[in-house]
C-alpha cells in the first residue's frame, strides 16, 4: 500500500474526526456559557454544584468520562447497550466531549466576564438597557474578544483529543491509523495521521486568527 493510499484510507476516518470536532463545539460553546452562569450565580448551592461539576470534568481523564457516558445506560438503567441504537457510540462520544469541553469553556468565559469593569454594566444601566441587552450587546462581545486566544488553545486541543474516541471503539482517524499500522506492519499510517492532524490544526488556527482579527477593530485599554 502506497503512502498516498494510506492517506486516502485515513481520510475516511477524518470525516468522523471532523464531525466530532464540529458537533462538540456546537454543543459545548453555548453549554459552557450556561455552566458559567451557574458557576457565577449568587445562589450559593447552585454555584457549588457547578463548581463541583467543573472540578470533576477537569480533574478526571476525558477517556474515562467517555467510558462513563457510553456505559451509563446499562449501569444506571440496566438497558443493554445493543438496545441503545446503532448511533449510541457516536452519540455518547459527542455527549462526553461536549460535557467535558463545556467545563473548560465555562472557566474561560468566567475569566473574561470577571475582567469586565463594573462601569460597562453601569453605563448600560443608566442608558435604560435591560439585563439581557446589557449582557449580549455590551458585555459578551467584549468578553469574546478577550477570551479568543484562550479559546483558540482549547479548540486546537480538541482537534487532537478527537483521537480519544477510539477508546470506546468509535471509528475516527486515529482508529484507522491504528488498524492500518497493524495490517500493514508499518509506522507510515501514524506519520500520515500526524500530518493530517497538523494540517487540520493549521486550518483551525488560521481560521481562529481570522476571527481574532475580525474582533480587533478596536483596542482594549
Amino acid at each position: 500500500m502506497s503512502f498516498f493510499q494510506i492517506l486516502l484510507q485515513l481520510c475516511e476516518g477524518l470525516g468522523y474526526s471532523v464531525m466530532i470536532f464540529l458537533l462538540t463545539l456546537v454543543f459545548s460553546l453555548p453549554l459552557g456559557l450556561l455552566i458559567c452562569f451557574g458557576r457565577m450565580t449568587k445562589i450559593k448551592p447552585v454555584s457549588w454544584l457547578f463548581r463541583i461539576y467543573i472540578s470533576i470534568m477537569r480533574g478526571t481523564p476525558l477517556m474515562l468520562q467517555l467510558f462513563v457516558v457510553y456505559f451509563c445506560p446499562y449501569y444506571l438503567f440496566r438497558i443493554p447497550l445493543r438496545n441503545m441504537g446503532d448511533n449510541w457510540m457516536f452519540v455518547s462520544v459527542i455527549i462526553g466531549f461536549a460535557l467535558n469541553y463545556a467545563a473548560y469553556f465555562a472557566e474561560i468565559y468566567r475569566s473574561g466576564i470577571a475582567s469586565m469593569s463594573e462601569g460597562q454594566y453601569e453605563a448600560a444601566r443608566v442608558l435604560g438597557m435591560n439585563k439581557r441587552q446589557t449582557f449580549f450587546i455590551i458585555i459578551l462581545p467584549q468578553v469574546i474578544r478577550r477570551i479568543l486566544p484562550s479559546l483558540t488553545n482549547e479548540v486546537i486541543t480538541l482537534v487532537k483529543d478527537t483521537s480519544l474516541a477510539f477508546a470506546i471503539g468509535q471509528i475516527e482517524m486515529f482508529t484507522m491509523a491504528k488498524r492500518l499500522a497493524s495490517s500493514e506492519v508499518s509506522m507510515l499510517p501514524y506519520v500520515g495521521a500526524a500530518m493530517i492532524y497538523y494540517v487540520f490544526n493549521l486550518i483551525v488556527a488560521t481560521a481562529m486568527a481570522k476571527v481574532e482579527k475580525r474582533f480587533s477593530n478596536y483596542v482594549i485599554k
Binding site: S117, G119, Q120, E122, A123, A124, R125, V126, L127, G128, M129, N130, Q133, I137, I138, P141, Q142, R145, N217, Y218, V219, I220, K221
Partner: protein, 263 residues
C-alpha cells in the same frame, strides 16, 4: 417648577454611614453643583439619584412621581425601573464608553434597542420605524456636532483623547433627553489641559431649560455655572446657597476650611 425632591436620604455600606439624611429640592432649569472633599458622600448621593445604589431610607421624587421610596417594599417591574432610569442621565468620571462600538453607535445603541423592542405589526409601522431609526441617526449627528466631534463619528473610543471621550459620553447621555443630567466629577480623570474643553461643553448646555447636577472639584467652574451650590461633609449637607453665598461668604467653619484649603 420643582423637578426633584430628595428627602431624608440615607445610605450605609457595611458599618459605614455614607449618607446621613440628605434633603434638597431642585427647580426645573436649575444648575446645582455639589462640592466637598473625597469621602463626603457626594458621589454616593449622585449614584443614589441614578438608581445605581439603593438608599436605606428616604424618598426621591422626580417631577410629581415618587421614583424611590425606601418605605415602599413593592418590587418595581422592569418597565417601571427603566422609565425612572431614563428620567435621569449620568456622565461618569471614567466615561465608560463602549469600546467595541464606534462613537456614533455609542450614542445610538440605547435608543435603537428601545425601538427594536416594539415589534412592528404592519407595513405602515415598519415604515415609521425606519423613519424613527433615521431620526435617531440624525439626532446623534446633531449632538456630535454640538460637542464638536462630528468628524469622529466613525472612530472607536480608543482613538480619542480623554477629553473627547468625555464629550462623547455627554452626547450619549443627552441622546435620551433626561429630565435631569448628572455629572460625576466629569473632569477628574482628565489631564489639566483637557478639562477646559469638557467644561466648555457642559457650559454650552446651560440654556435655562436643562436641569443639571454637577459633582465637581472645579471650584471656579462651579462658582460660574451654578445657580446653587451644596457643600457636603461627612454625609450631610453642611451648607447650601447661591455661589456668592457659599464661595463668597461661607457660614459654616467646615465650608470655610474646605474652601481655604482648595485655594
Amino acid at each position: 417648577m420643582q423637578i426633584l425632591n430628595v428627602s431624608g436620604l440615607r445610605k450605609s455600606f457595611k458599618e459605614q454611614e455614607v449618607l446621613r439624611g440628605i434633603d434638597f429640592t431642585l427647580q426645573r432649569g436649575e444648575i446645582l453643583s455639589i462640592i466637598g472633599s473625597s469621602g463626603s458622600g457626594k458621589t454616593t448621593l449622585l449614584r443614589c439619584l441614578n438608581f445605581l445604589e439603593t438608599p436605606d431610607a428616604g424618598t426621591i421624587t422626580i417631577g410629581d412621581r415618587v421614583a424611590f421610596d425606601a418605605a415602599d417594599t413593592r418590587k418595581l417591574t422592569a418597565k417601571e425601573k427603566r422609565a425612572r432610569q431614563l428620567q435621569m442621565g449620568l456622565v461618569f468620571q471614567s466615561f465608560n464608553l463602549f469600546p467595541h462600538f464606534t462613537v456614533k453607535k455609542n450614542l445610538t445603541i440605547a435608543s435603537e434597542l428601545r425601538l427594536k423592542e416594539e415589534k412592528p405589526q404592519n407595513g405602515a409601522e415598519k415604515a415609521t420605524k425606519k423613519a424613527q431609526l433615521e431620526a435617531i441617526d440624525r439626532k446623534a449627528e446633531e449632538l456630535l456636532s454640538k460637542v464638536g466631534l462630528a468628524d469622529k463619528a466613525n472612530d472607536y473610543p480608543y482613538a480619542l483623547s480623554g477629553g473627547q471621550q468625555q464629550r462623547v459620553a455627554i452626547a450619549r447621555a443627552l441622546m435620551l433627553d433626561p429630565e435631569i443630567l448628572c455629572f460625576d466629577e466629569p473632569t477628574s480623570a482628565l489631564d489639566p489641559e483637557l478639562t477646559g474643553e469638557v467644561l466648555r461643553v457642559i457650559r454650552s448646555l446651560c440654556d435655562g431649560e436643562r436641569t443639571m447636577i454637577i459633582v465637581t472639584h472645579e471650584m471656579e467652574f462651579a462658582r460660574q455655572i451654578s445657580h446653587r451650590v451644596i457643600y457636603m461633609a461627612d454625609g450631610v449637607i453642611e451648607e447650601e446657597g447661591t455661589p456668592e453665598e457659599v464661595f463668597g461668604n461661607p457660614k459654616s467653619p467646615k465650608t470655610r476650611a474646605f474652601l481655604s484649603v482648595k485655594d
